[in-house]
């Protein structure tokens, strides 16, 4: 984004560039309880040259060159799910990205959920549970909790709002972002107030498109 670009070019902000698979394996190592995992990418690139945290390694089994990426255990993970029970047993439909590894790796996990369901519902289909309750520290029911982006099978991104946001921060990476945060994040007193700013027509349109994943 232009915001990221602005801050990197201006300097003084901390950030790290890893490949997606490297990040995935870092969270996975964290979730598996091991201090690293071996991967075969990033080697030979300047992405690796910038990352002294990763270590090149000659495989003692095959002699191949590999990269060891260190485990990453976030202090807190915030994950939005379609449904979970009050203990935190969570079902996730469709795209799950790195959410499961994140939940296993993080020291604390806060779930937001479209809907809290009973533990009885969870126990009727235990092979649909993707995150077990003992990873989870808090559960918060927040319908439209992934707004203005999407929640698989429930709503698609709220495009008019997303596009207005992008136009705003691309035009003014610092002032535009500050203004957006003031108006849409710090301003609203409740989640419903935030959703009101997105607008009911926008929400309904997104929900309609979200359900279309099942419409064929």
């Amino acid at each position: 984004s232009k915001v990221m670009r602005h801050h990197v070019e201006k300097g003084g902000k901390r950030f790290q560039e890893w490949s997606h698979m490297a990040m995935g394996m870092r969270f996975r190592a964290g979730g598996m309880g091991v201090p690293f995992l071996p991967i075969r990418s990033m080697l030979g690139s300047d992405v690796l040259n910038q990352r002294p945290e990763a270590k090149e390694f000659d495989c003692p089994f095959t002699g191949e060159k590999l990269l060891l990426v260190p485990a990453l255990n976030p202090d807190v993970a915030l994950i939005h799910v379609q449904r979970c029970d009050p203990y935190g047993n969570a079902q996730i439909d469709g795209l799950q990205f790195m959410d499961i590894d994140l939940a296993m790796a993080a020291d604390r996990v806060i779930l937001t959920t479209e809907r809290i369901i009973s533990n009885d519902q969870i126990r009727r289909a235990p092979d649909q549970t993707k995150i077990p309750f003992f990873c989870v520290d808090a559960v918060v029911e927040v319908p439209f909790g992934a707004a203005p982006h999407e929640c698989f099978g429930v709503y698609e991104p709220m495009m008019p709002h997303m596009e207005a946001y992008v136009a705003k921060v691309n035009a003014e990476p610092v002032e535009g972002m500050r203004d957006y945060l003031e108006r849409h994040v710090y301003g609203p007193k409740t989640w419903t107030d935030f959703l009101s700013l997105i607008g009911l027509d926008n929400l309904l349109e997104a929900a309609n498109k979200g359900r279309s994943i099942y419409n064929d």
Binding site: M4, R5, V8, E9, G11, E17, W18, S19, H20, M21, A22, M23, G24, M25, F27, R28, I39, R40, S41, M42, L43, G44, S45, D46, V47, Q50, E56, E64, K65, L66, L67, G94, L95, Q96, F97, M98, I100, D101, E150, F152, G153, E156, P157, M159, G210, I213, D216
Partner: protein
Amino acid sequence: MTESQRHTSAEMLAILSARQLKDGQVVFAGVGVPLLAATLAQRLHCPGLTILFEGGVIGAFVEPGKLPPSTNDQRCTKRANMVLGSADVLLLLQRGYVDVGFMGGAQIDQYGNLNSSYIGSPAAPKTRLPGTGGGNDIASLTNMIVAMKHEKRRFVEKVDFITSPGFIRGGKTRAESGLPAGGMFRVITELAVFGFDDETRRMKVLALNPGVDRRQVQDNTGFELLFDEGLSMTEPPTGRELATLREIDLHRLFTA
């Protein structure tokens, strides 16, 4: 040239890229021209092409006129064969299940290394580009097709930063860096189709686009190009290719 065969350079890229794909292949595609080209190939000569998206999708079928805004959206999953974690779909590359990786490029050098991170030095960059995402993984682990704009500032002798490795410094340096598999296979631009010399791994013109000559390609390139002995002239887009492409990108999101 009939009316229907006029085309934009993005359309040219998509069509020439689609021609590089073979039926039955498993293709990892990024958003934009790659997604478009893979979908086009699927509707023309590759009905059994399997498209993978970084968001975690296997066997995507994009509906004409409903291109997803990114490859991370639920729209990419509709009628797919499988949805899985985004690290897991990248691991398929590492296990060797993917035939072709297919993406766009901002800056490329004579050995097919791609830069999508920084113009200038990483410590004090002139321009910050979007960064690797899964690009480094895809380029590290499979055979790559890259579709990009042909400009002298984009085709440079040495990229400022290797985000996604091609053949590194040529010769065997890719394998020696720990990347025994894959490598840059084809680069497609609005001027030509490029491969890489088997020994030196330097970029080589394989075919010129219709109406383009050698000099025009060399003049727009920041390093000395090789030209294949059997240098050929690419066939122009057919009416069927253009019509199908326009049906897929109905709203001209990527081909305007």
